[in-house]
């Protein structure tokens, strides 16, 4: 087992196996005799003990529910603690001299980094370490933002690059998907800002040129292809989902706002081209996701395909149709998509049965 996710999948598989055995016994279809079944039970118990010790997985439904609760609590706790650190410094920094301000700003992320490392070695679940790693990242963001304010430093997009580097390091050190997402967004922001400055734009206006995000989106989407993430649970989907979002969201914006493009064609032509691109890419992502068994990619492609479709329908019909008719058309198109997906699903089932 490479990571917690795979270990959890194995444990779920084992639990499902015993549930099915119990059901078959209840339905009087099949009953295993002790000679056959005991070695299997021993094997499974040993495997589950080993997986629990190594990855702290959930082996019962109740444990799973509690783990979900712990994840939510950890997430909220991390965000709240990060906000608290930020506002704590904000409230009191004016009473400190410059030397003390700088010392606190540099010490805070360092101290929280080493605290995270210390806690991770003593706590198997990893929740507290993840929480502290978020605090460490927040302290680093605060570090640079406040140094910039104290010394009136001209803002630079390089801050996004170092924040991205630190977030990604913490993400891989402590297996934190939230920090990986933060790192990806910072990296995308840096590339977009740097590309923007090459065209003469002030870097803080990087949000006003959606096309600046297309290149970083492609880079981010392809990361799992050239950097294996086996030991990290759920990192591949994070790269793919953010790659899709960073590509498709700008395309969606440009499909409605041609003036935001670097291209100097007629705005209507630009919008039409991006609309077409949006449909093609989102449909392509659905196909790619089905072929590669990437449910995250399928869902993202799906969501944007629907968004492009409904945006287009709004453009065509909102002004010329009565409202009830417009929403009826939306409903009918949803039903049509339901039939299409059902058909694709049936075909995929037939293909699997024929292989079996």
């Amino acid at each position: 087992m490479d990571n917690k996710q795979k270990a959890q999948q194995r444990a779920d598989q084992i639990r499902a196996f015993y549930d099915e055995v119990e059901q078959l016994d209840a339905d009087q279809v099949l009953k295993f005799d002790a000679e056959q079944f005991d070695p299997v039970v021993s094997y499974h118990n040993a495997l589950l003990d080993s997986l629990t010790e190594k990855f702290d997985i959930d082996i019962s439904a109740q444990q799973k529910q509690l783990s979900t609760g712990m994840k939510i609590a950890s997430f909220i706790g991390a965000l709240a603690l990060a906000a608290s650190v930020f506002f704590l410094f904000y409230q009191f920094w004016g009473y400190f001299g410059t030397t003390l301000q700088v010392s606190i700003l540099i010490a805070a992320p360092l101290f929280s980094l080493f605290a995270t490392y210390w806690v991770s070695g003593r706590e198997a679940t990893g929740y507290f370490a993840k929480l502290l790693s978020m605090v460490s990242f927040t302290c680093f963001v605060l570090n640079l933002v406040m140094l910039g304010q104290i010394f009136n430093i001209t803002p630079s997009e390089n801050a996004l690059l170092v924040w991205a580097a630190f977030a990604v390091l913490l993400a891989y050190a402590f297996d934190v998907r939230l920090l990986l997402a933060a790192g990806i967004l910072s990296f995308a922001g840096f590339i977009a800002a740097r590309v923007g400055t090459w065209s003469g734009m002030y870097w803080l206006s990087f949000g006003s040129r959606p096309e600046n995000y297309l290149l970083p989106a492609l880079i981010i989407f392809t990361v799992p292809l050239w950097l294996k993430q086996k030991r990290y649970s759920g990192f591949d989907p994070v790269y793919r989902v953010f790659g899709c979002l960073l590509f498709l969201f700008p395309v969606l914006v440009l499909s409605n706002w041609g003036y935001g493009s670097y291209l100097i064609w007629d705005a209507a032509v630009i919008e039409g081209s991006y609309q077409l691109l949006g449909f093609v890419i989102s449909a392509g992502l659905i196909v790619l996701g089905i072929r590669q068994h990437w449910p995250d990619t399928i869902n993202t492609g799906n969501a944007f395909f629907v968004l492009f479709l409904y945006t287009k329908m709004f453009d065509w019909w909102w002004d010329i149709m009565p409202k009830y008719l417009f929403f009826l058309v939306i409903a009918l198109s949803s039903l049509l998509m339901l039939f299409i997906y059902k058909r694709i699903r049936l075909q995929s089932q037939l293909v699997e049965d024929s292989h079996a």
């Binding site: 004016g94 680093f140 640079l144 009136n152 001209t154 580097a165 002030y202």
Partner: protein
């Protein structure tokens, strides 16, 4: 994991070393600018959120653009096109005005994308401020005559009354820093405007805007909007500037209560070197 932690710690330390080295370089040697400004040019920054818990103190940098229009209604301007920011200057800043003006239809909704980072020169208490006072006083005379000719016309009376307040602010509370030039060649500007006590140099974004059938230049923003005030000056400022403050939404006339020695360093980053109460503020504190 230990390797990643060590790399992470290195990133933290190295980043801070680079940042502080930049600060040290900026403040090394003689400052490029060392100018004494007052509360008019550097009012204490006010948060619009009255519940703001920020204990830090900053000064806003206020500046103006000279408006030569004799029929002007407002005496506080940063969004108009400066007269010196003409096509020749915009071309020197890197805009291809011939292409842009040849097809205004194509570019009119895209002008806001065209911008360049340049160095703007702000003149303190100079020719632009004097000319602004002259234009304002001439306008005042015209409004007074009109109000005298139409004593029952409430609109004319209100216009006069409002303009009187604006003129009073222009003379007493409003910034005397006026943008007078911009360029890409910093050394050329430093040489041209060599008086350290009269000119400020600030990096800014200069962009274009579409105005009816024409494309004009505009100073979109100065990159320095606020200057942090460290201890002990922040305590001093809190005492001196307690009470009424001049700001965009508070149009009370406030006589400046403090003077600030502002330095600008090698990287064009400013810092506050000293804060002193003016004589009137000093006596009121005692």
């Amino acid at each position: 994991m230990r390797k990643l932690i060590l790399v992470g710690a290195s990133v933290l330390l190295l980043t801070n070393v680079v940042v502080l080295a930049g600060v040290s370089y900026n403040r090394s040697g003689e400052p490029l600018v060392s100018i004494e400004l007052t509360e008019r040019e550097l009012p204490v920054w006010q948060s619009y959120n009255s519940a703001d818990e920020n204990s830090g103190t900053a000064l806003s940098l206020k500046w103006q653009v000279f408006n030569p229009d004799e029929n002007l209604e407002y005496l506080s301007n940063t969004y108009i096109t400066p007269s010196w920011l003409d096509d020749e200057k915009l071309t020197a800043l890197g805009f291809d005005m011939d292409i842009l003006k040849a097809d205004i239809e194509k570019y009119q909704y895209r002008t806001w994308h065209h911008s360049v980072e340049a160095l703007v020169v702000l003149e303190y208490q100079g020719d632009s401020y004097q000319r602004m006072l002259t234009v304002a006083e001439n306008r005042m005379e015209i409004l007074q005559k009109r109000a005298a000719n139409f004593p029952d016309d409430k609109r004319e009376q209100n216009k006069l009354s409002n303009f009187k307040k604006q003129l009073s602010r222009l003379k007493t509370s409003q910034s005397r820093l006026y943008a007078i030039d911009a360029g890409l060649d910093e050394n050329a500007l430093f040489q041209k405007y060599a008086d350290k006590n009269r000119y400020l140099f600030v990096k800014a974004e200069i962009g274009l805007r579409w105005n009816k059938k024409d494309i004009e230049g505009r100073i979109r923003q100065l990159y320095v909007k606020q200057v942090h005030v460290p201890l002990p000056f922040s305590n001093m400022l809190s005492r001196i500037s307690a009470g009424e403050r001049y700001g965009a939404y508070n149009t009370t006339v406030v006589t400046p209560r403090y003077r600030v020695q502002l330095n600008i360093g090698q990287r064009l980053e400013p810092w506050v070197a000293s804060v002193v109460a003016t004589e009137s503020a000093d006596s009121s504190l005692k």
